[in-house]
């Protein structure tokens, strides 16, 4: 009896001793987007191949995720081994020394295959600091049947005027069909992503070369006026609380004529399991103003420098952003559902081109995005639908609140712009610009 007990205890002790050396737990912070949730479900091959690694998933809503991850990384809390971050944060965080460079990802990784605009945005001094999980630009998704009914043909890249005209003609409020759905929910990654890129296309930047806010300019006024006017005339009710997800739900249930948003939405709206209009969706490049509307976003996996399992983390990141993972998703869910917008090889794959009618416009949109020159005038910042300074999150959200109020009819366009200008001047002065 006591022998057995001793033996058992011994076994326990041995396990206890050897466990920490063998098993590593990776805590992965990720956003509750469809592709990420799929990654969690598909991670079995990885854990099978690496039985010594356990995965802990922390799936959060985007804003909560950003708040949690930033707090932890900036205080070096070390709670996460892998974080999901956007290409806006990556260069800023990399410069602070908060992220580990992703070198030696293994022979099969083929980092050169990553689309050049994407990898350029994730590199600092030639070193990659985050691996893109999926990338996106903006494009127009529209209902071919409604467009036909309105007697119009969508050009490859329409002008803003064409969009407004088509939106009015497609609207049928009785039948709950709204010509255009755009983001209106306040947030730097929500309405300000769209409005920043739209204003850039109108030739209106956030700051001039001396970091002076530009909201009092005529071009901002025109852009915001056009946006509010068309949304009031042809947008869905409650647009000021619609973000990407809300608009996606609206489009999927057949309530939108056109939707200008992230290219990644294409695989959701064309999926017959989720979308009631899957067979009636057409795609066009984002509208053209003084410059074409540009947009470049990538959800990436990065490794905080405070991790205690850098090697295991790197192994996972390499797996999740590899070509093999893409093939695994394709085998399980079809090519149309693979994470898009990161690798050249995907767009050269005939099977993908066949399965994803949106492949071409997606690639063209991504390749035409120029982080350095987003608008028709010279700017001191990088970024197409965001501005690459740490203060932008807060500033973008405050300004977004004002523009959201203008959309809800709680403030006039002039009032909103005036408030935006004031807020921006205040915050920039407080942060000590020009730096």
């Amino acid at each position: 009896m006591s022998m057995m007990l001793r033996g058992l205890m011994g076994a326990c002790a041995v396990t206890a001793l050897t466990l920490p050396a063998m098993a590593e737990t990776l805590t992965i912070a990720t956003v509750n987007n469809g592709d990420m949730i799929r990654m969690q479900k598909m991670s079995k091959p990885f854990t099978d191949a690496n039985p010594d690694i356990t995965l802990e998933w922390v799936t959060l809503e985007e804003n909560v995720l950003r708040q949690r991850v930033t707090t932890d990384i900036a205080t070096k809390g070390g709670q996460y081994d892998i974080v999901t971050v956007g290409n806006y944060e990556v260069p800023i965080w990399a410069r602070q020394g908060w992220l580990l460079p992703l070198e030696d990802m293994g022979e099969e990784y083929d980092a050169a295959d990553i689309l050049p605009p994407i990898s350029a945005g994730l590199s600092v001094d030639g070193k990659l600091y985050a691996a893109p999980f999926y990338g996106e630009s903006a494009m127009i998704m529209y209902r071919t049947d409604l467009m036909e009914k309105a007697g119009l043909t969508m050009p490859e890249r329409p002008t803003w005027e064409f969009i407004y005209d088509a939106a009015r003609k497609m609207t049928d409020k009785e039948a709950e069909v709204y010509g255009i759905c755009l983001r209106g929910k306040a947030g730097w990654g929500e309405n300000m992503a769209f409005l920043t890129s739209m204003a850039h296309s109108y030739g209106a930047p956030w700051f001039d070369k001396d970091w002076k806010p530009q909201f009092s300019g005529e071009k901002w006024k025109k852009a915001l006026t056009d946006y509010v006017t068309i949304m009031n005339e042809a947008g869905p009710p409650g647009a000021s609380s619609n973000g990407f997800n809300e608009n996606l739900a609206l489009f999927q249930t057949g309530k939108c004529g056109m939707w200008i948003d992230a290219t990644v939405a294409a695989s959701f709206v064309s999926n017959p399991k989720e979308s009631t209009v899957a067979d009636k969706v057409g795609y066009a490049l984002a509208p053209e103003g003084e410059k074409p509307q540009m947009w470049l976003w990538a959800w990436t996996l990065a490794i905080p420098s405070s991790t205690d399992a850098p090697d295991a983390a790197k192994k996972f990141v390499a797996w999740a952003t590899s070509k093999a993972y893409t093939e695994q998703v394709a085998a399980a869910e079809g090519w149309a559902n693979v994470p898009p917008g990161t690798r050249t090889s995907l767009y050269e794959n005939p099977e993908y081109q066949q399965a994803a009618p949106f492949a071409r416009p997606t690639l063209d949109s991504i390749m035409s995005a120029d982080l350095q020159n987003p608008t028709s005038v010279e700017v001191p910042y990088i970024g197409t639908q965001w501005v690459g300074i740490p203060e932008f999150q807060a500033l973008g959200t405050s300004v977004g609140q004002q523009f959201s109020a203008a959309l809800a009819g709680q403030a006039s366009v002039d009032q909103a712009l005036q408030m935006a200008q004031q807020i921006a001047e205040r915050e920039m002065a407080k942060a000590g610009y020009p730096k």
Partner: protein
């Protein structure tokens, strides 16, 4: 002699709780106070420096500050009026003879147990959503234009959600108080031919005053720091229309990562909370003695 011994012992017994509370207050408070005089942004480490009252200046001159003050008062006031008013009505109703009183009470008490996050998510999406929400369907069914509650009446919508959560609390306390009302007194009043209204204002309401005070006190403590409901539904918007003081501090701390500014905001909020506490104490002191 015994009393002195007892008193010392009493002090000793209070001290762990009080010391812990003191620590809980003082340590973060001291840190917050320290940070409030620093220029300290989490996103630009290595730039920390003493900047005097600048953070306070920025917080107090923030265009959102006065709106937030106003919203905080409206939120607390609005919810108090609805829950106390509705609570009295419901308590009077539940005090009447009826069938299935136990079940009714269980149904009424339920919202009090719901996580604020959950109730905000449910109200926002399944009821107030202007396209897929039940209210929108109801509006369409009667031929009206669906109302976009969270955009057009953001603060009112939040007051509604929070009131729904706190109404059971008020009802229960008031009901318990009502049930302790002397039935002989009531009968005597009836004999004197007092009408329902007279009975209510002269007998019931004075009897409930203590309970009402308690409801106001407890609710105020929780309502001053309403946060989850705002974060989930409106994010303080549109504009600043549903930003309260707690949310303003949150946006400084965790959207702007401006630890200095948020600390200044926190200190100001604590000062305001203490003013409210003194005010409440006066009120309570009068009624509860």
């Amino acid at each position: 002699m015994a009393t002195r011994h007892q008193k010392t012992l009493a002090r000793l017994m209070v001290s762990p709780s009080v010391l812990l509370l003191l620590g809980w207050m003082i340590v973060p408070l001291a840190m917050t106070l320290w940070f409030s005089f620093q220029s300290y942004n989490l996103l630009s480490p290595g730039m920390e420096q003493f900047i005097g009252w600048t953070n306070y200046q920025y917080f107090l001159s923030d265009p959102a500050f006065w709106t937030a003050m106003r919203n905080t008062l409206l939120l607390v006031g609005g919810v108090l009026v609805i829950t106390v008013g509705g609570g009295i009505a419901l308590a009077l109703l539940l005090d009447q003879p009826m069938f299935g009183q136990g079940v009714v009470r269980i149904l009424v008490i339920a919202p009090f147990f719901i996580m604020p996050t959950v109730s905000a998510l449910v109200w926002k999406n399944m009821f107030m959503n202007p396209v897929n929400g039940l209210f929108a369907w109801f509006a369409k069914a009667v031929g009206a234009q669906p109302i976009d509650f969270l955009a057009q009446y953001p603060l009112m919508s939040i007051i509604l959600i929070v009131s729904w959560q706190w109404l059971p609390f008020a009802t229960l306390i008031l009901l318990t108080a009502l049930q302790s009302l002397d039935s002989e007194q009531m009968e005597a009043a009836e004999m004197d031919g007092a009408g329902t209204l007279a009975k209510f204002t002269h007998l019931v309401l004075p009897h409930l005053s203590r309970a009402i005070t308690v409801v106001i006190l407890i609710e105020t403590i929780f309502l001053l720091s309403v946060f989850a409901e705002i974060l989930v539904t409106t994010n303080g918007g549109p504009g600043y229309q549903s930003t309260n003081l707690t949310y303003l501090v949150y946006s400084q701390a965790l959207l702007q990562f401006d630890v200095g500014g948020a600390s200044a905001g926190g200190i100001i909020a604590v000062i305001l909370a203490n003013i409210v506490a003194i005010f409440l104490m006066r009120m309570i002191g009068k009624t509860l003695e």
